[in-house]
């Protein structure tokens, strides 16, 4: 703001400022139109910045840094604990995982239906997963074949720990429709 005032007087008359400008400079107590608008702008900018900052804080407040959620990685015992051709239900309630063993190896299926997130049931007689909510059906591999589910069940990362136990890591998911089931950690060869 002082820059602008100087500039104006300078352009008007470099050698001798007009008496009106002198008067203005002398009477500090008087609020000029220019300084009023400057302070008004500063006030508004400060107000908008403070309000914007507060709303940003409010938004960020809803995304906590620490989550008190169940552990996402667990040890599921040894490969010999699982029989070939069986869908194992022992981790369904606690970790939301079906462990299936076939002739070649073991994979871990998510129990979350890909339609709207309910938990299907394994029907051994019919050899399929059937969702009670809207009737989606999945084969033992996890491939969807009936009902509204748009894609196969997801598989979790499955690896062997140093002590020979199976480790299931639920933070990493593999989707068949993206070609991720061929990933070496989506299937444990035994």
């Amino acid at each position: 703001m002082p820059d602008k005032t100087d500039k104006k007087t300078a352009t008007l008359s470099p050698s001798a400022p007009p008496p009106a400008a002198l008067d203005n400079a002398d009477s500090n107590s008087e609020v000029t139109r220019r300084s009023f608008f400057s302070w008004l702008s500063i006030g508004w900018i400060a107000f908008v910045a403070a309000t914007g900052g507060f709303f940003t804080m409010m938004l960020r407040f809803f995304f906590p840094n620490v989550l008190f959620e169940p552990v996402q990685t667990f040890r599921a015992g040894f490969p010999d604990d699982y029989q070939a051709g069986q869908v194992d239900l022992r981790w369904k309630a606690k970790f939301g995982t079906w462990i299936v063993r076939n002739d070649e190896g073991i994979y871990a299926l998510s129990t979350v239906c890909t339609h709207l997130g309910c938990t299907p049931n394994w029907l051994n007689a019919e050899q399929k997963f059937k969702c009670p909510c809207h009737g989606s059906g999945f084969r033992k591999t996890g491939i969807n074949f009936e009902g509204p589910a748009p894609r196969p069940l997801e598989r979790f990362r499955i690896i062997l720990a140093d002590d020979g136990q199976i480790v299931i890591d639920k933070t990493k998911k593999y989707q068949q429709e993206k070609g991720q089931w061929s990933d070496p950690e989506a299937f444990l060869k035994v």
């Binding site: 959620e69 709207l116 909510c133």
Partner: protein, 262 residues
């Protein structure tokens, strides 16, 4: 007539009465009666005088008034339930059982539940009536928009209240409902456009940072979800809906009173 003033008349002329109800004693003229309405914060939301057709049940169905009446019942019964209900996974379900079976007048919980169903029905019927009578037309188009927001808030109150009993019905309803939030454009991790908000391999909209995460307070339904829905249901949404209701009622008067049958 005796000259001695009766007790009621002396009360009406006393300082206590006149300081609360301005206008100088019993209203006798039309103007005085009008001032009584205008000087009351509660009454002034309503029109001073009603046209005869405005109280015709055949035209209004009284669905707006009923919706507000049920809202008051829900507020009172809801506050009463809050004295017993604890929004934690450990206690939520058993507190509902306790409310229904052990607490005196356990019907309070049923009143709240059935009242909630009833309010959703009356709000829809109110909207249907307003539509069929053409009452959304100018100059009332702004109040229609306010009404649509009120409908949305009613449904959100219903949705958040649904989870609180923490039974199978509640959890699966919210599981399905919150999974839909994944598909929100740009803001949901599986929604259209979410992949665009990324720099290189770093996605900004992920399972741990999308709109569903903010809604349920985590990646999975749990303790945080229950608490968030409880606060929204008991404080957040009622606060917002009351502001919009005040505007809605006041605008009826400002838009020229209730609409007239053709």
């Amino acid at each position: 007539m005796s000259e001695k003033k009766g007790l009621l008349q002396r009360l009406a002329e006393g300082q206590i009465w006149t300081s609360i109800f301005r206008g100088g004693g019993t209203p006798k003229s039309r103007r005085q009666r009008m001032m009584v309405v205008l000087n009351s914060v509660f009454l002034h939301l309503h029109p001073v005088r009603l046209p005869k057709h405005a109280v015709k049940l055949k035209f209004t169905w009284c669905m707006g008034g009923l919706s507000f009446f049920i809202f008051l019942i829900l507020t009172i019964s809801g506050i009463l339930l809050m004295f017993y209900y604890r929004p934690t996974i450990e206690y939520a379900y058993t507190d509902i059982i306790d409310l229904a079976e052990q607490v005196p007048f356990g019907i309070m919980r049923e009143i709240h539940r059935w009242g909630a169903h009833a309010m959703v029905i009356t709000v829809w019927l109110h909207m249907f009536r307003v539509f069929m009578t053409g009452s959304y037309k100018p100059p009332r188009e702004f109040n229609w928009a306010i009404g649509v927001i009120l409908l949305l808030l009613t449904l959100l109150l219903s949705f958040t209240g649904y989870l609180l009993p923490w039974d199978q019905l509640a959890i699966w309803a919210i599981a399905v409902g919150s999974n839909m939030a994944r598909a929100t454009p740009f803001l949901g991790s599986e929604g259209p456009g979410a992949a665009l908000l990324a720099i290189g391999d770093i996605n900004f909209v992920t399972v741990a940072s999308d709109v569903r995460f903010a809604l349920i307070g985590g990646r999975f339904l749990g303790e945080a979800t229950l608490l968030r829905f409880y606060v929204l249901h008991c404080i957040g949404l009622p606060f917002i809906i009351m502001i919009f209701m005040a505007v809605h009622f006041w605008r009826i008067r400002k838009d020229g009173g209730i609409s007239t049958p053709v």
